[in-house]
């Protein structure tokens, strides 16, 4: 598929690009250095209605197009991967409701997320259940009109700052994937028995909030069960179809940002009496970085368009987009550090941050090894 952005998408891209350059780029190094969650970026997104991008107009949103959203994530990630993740996770946290919610649940939960009044998160992974989410042990027991949830979740992006959190838990602990159900916690941080502890010491995306959640008999109304009991795993997988291209867009932006910086540096930096961009060794590196980034973009847009078209091929292409974009981000940022040499290795220049930020894109939303399993098993299905 050859995906072209329409006029509206190009306009939104330009708006986000301008905002990213003027307001977020100057903050990126500081966000990384302090490791503090950038509430000013949240405010900026609110002011400029960026949180509305993942949502359709009927739920208070602007678009609901995956392609539009992912183009915006790409633009933000060019300058600051942490900021891009705030938008990506607002979408991720809302997808379970958008995919499996009733009209009542959507009307009740989505408009506040689209307005940015509330932040969303998505709690699937557990200490003992990472690549194998069906092995989760968090329990949800029904008591009348309520469920009582007990267990722990880990690596939850925005888990310590989000209000609206979709939590996956076993309603049938004897079953694997068929025993999983999905619940929405509202005003999660105020709930009795809910405790979020921020995880410090990350390699990259340092300003992003990553939390471990303890749920000790947290009470959730049955009205906040998404779908039926036992639908949770299927919902989680459908969420991944949509969220993987979002993470891929973040990776793509990181790669493009590093490439842009390396190109600028190669033009300016003089050695042996000429700019290093005149040396073939540097030129060939830049060309390979460009090709890998272009390939990643082609697949991110392709997968995004398949989401917008409601195509059954989306799982396969979402996995390919995530795999290629994550691997491209790691390779391109590593080569950008190489082109800057010693300057690339220190935090006065942005590329070492980009290299650290890139690594997570090969890990979250399913490691790239899991993406390969998804792709290969699809091929091997006779």
């Amino acid at each position: 598929m050859d995906v072209r952005l329409n006029e509206e998408q190009m306009m939104i891209r330009q708006t986000v690009r301008d905002l990213a350059r003027s307001r977020i780029a100057p903050r990126a190094a500081e966000i990384d250095r302090t490791g503090e969650f950038p509430w000013d970026v949240v405010d900026l997104f609110r002011q400029h209605d960026l949180f509305a991008l993942p949502f359709p107009p009927e739920h208070g949103g602007l678009s609901g197009s995956a392609l539009t959203l992912n183009v915006a994530i790409e633009e933000l990630a060019k300058v600051c991967a942490t900021s891009a993740l705030i938008l990506a996770v607002q979408a991720l946290g809302a997808y379970p409701v958008m995919i499996a919610g009733t009209d009542e649940q959507k009307q009740r939960l989505l408009p506040d997320l689209a307005a940015g009044k509330k932040l969303a998160a998505y709690a699937l992974s557990e200490p003992g259940a990472g690549s194998d989410p069906a092995g989760m042990v968090t329990r949800a027991e029904r008591h009348g009109d309520e469920y009582v949830i007990t267990g722990s979740k880990i690596w939850i992006t925005d888990g310590g700052v989000a209000d609206t959190i979709t939590v996956f838990a076993k309603t049938d602990p004897a079953a694997r994937s068929k025993g999983v159900s999905a619940f929405v916690l509202e005003d999660a941080q105020q709930l009795k028995g809910f405790q979020a502890s921020t995880i410090h010491g990350k390699l990259g995306i340092r300003g992003s909030n990553t939390a471990e959640l303890q749920l000790d008999e947290v009470v959730v109304p049955a009205a906040n069960l998404l779908g039926e009991e036992g639908d949770g795993f299927r919902i989680a997988m459908r969420v991944l179809d949509r969220s993987r291209p979002g993470v891929a867009a973040q990776a793509l932006g990181i790669a493009q940002g590093a490439l842009d910086y390396a190109v600028g540096y190669a033009r300016e930096r003089k050695q042996f009496g000429k700019s290093i961009g005149e040396f073939q060794g540097i030129q060939f590196m830049l060309a390979d970085m460009e090709a890998q980034t272009a390939a990643a973009r082609a697949m991110v847009y392709w997968a995004s368009q398949l989401i917008d078209d409601h195509s059954p091929e989306v799982t396969h292409h979402a996995a390919i987009a995530k795999l290629l974009a994550g691997d491209a981000a790691m390779k391109v940022t590593t080569d950008a550090v190489q082109i800057l040499g010693g300057y690339g290795y220190v935090n006065e220049y942005p590329v070492e941050r980009m290299m650290r930020d890139a690594k997570i894109t090969q890990i979250y939303e399913g490691t790239n090894q899991i993406q390969r399993v998804v792709i290969a098993r699809d091929l091997l299905r006779a």
């Binding site: 050859d2 830049l286 090709a291 272009a294 697949m299 091997l380």
Partner: protein
Amino acid sequence: MSTEVALHDPLSARIESFVRDFVRPVSSAMARGAGPRPKDVVGAAGEAGLAGILTAPDLGGAGGTHRDFVSFIEAVAREDASTAVILDVHLSVGTEPIIVFGDDDQKRRYLSRLARGEWLAGFALTEPAGGSDAAALQTRALRDGDEYVVSGAKTFITGAGDADVYIVMARTGEGRDGISAFIVESRWPGVSAGQPFTKLGLHGSWTGEVVFDSVRVPAANRLGDEGKGFRVAMAALDSGRVGISAQAVGIAQGALDVTVARARERRAAGREVDEMHLADMEAWTAASRALTWHAASMVDAGQNVTRDASVAKLYATDACVSVAHAAVEMCAPDSALDDHPAAVRLRDAKACQIYEGTNQVQRMVIARRLLRVE
């Protein structure tokens, strides 16, 4: 296959039946160099209504887009890369310069014969001393009244010895602005071709030298203005690179097909399958296809495609070698045999990194555009 019926079918159906009825049955003979000669390949494509896919219908062509063209080349290359490169050269660098730069008289005289597959077209740019540095070519065209006298030697010419007409770049002056393009018929006195080279792969495609010894070429056969030949060549290569990208996608897909079939057998027999490697092959192939389609659509939209064509060519042809190499590994030990489909594809794939500008030239093209100060 009946021409009348074929010409009424949509292009996708014509492509499907041409691949099924012509390409697949000759593929293993082509890989051994024992298939139909290039002219017969183009003749068969002509009967299927596919030898002039980019040529306008009033000149006997299919009036297709570059997206149609790359779909065609990919589908053919998935079965056999030799057949694909014969058709690619004929359709893109052989025919397209006449479509784009030819005058009405030239179009009338050449395009319908090429589009019907009666004649085979070739593209003669490369010389022994002018490979990646095409502007260093030495073949001369001296004006003599209403004619030019063309002398020089070209090498690595696809279709050499079988083509009826060559697009020839020759020097009418000095430097890059001293190159002009000509349509030269192989039957004219002074045109001769050497024996086809014995190559690593693409055994069904003829590649060799073409020598022009004081060939008298009518001035009416000059393509575009005098001194504008380098532009003709570069424009042809922009589009030609998109075609080679499509060939690379087809080779990669063919290698993947073989590997998936083999992996299914292994799994059915309860043996391990390297899922990681298989997934990479699929991912690289899919991205190559996306880049190729994107570049083809840019050509159709009339946009400058130089950088995007080079990106597609670089990525897709590097990918097809990696994919074919992985296919050989995953189909071992059978793939060590000369005629195993994975082995054939590895040999064929290598050429894609070299022709239509080596991948080192693509990297120069891409880097120079990146580094240009906006």
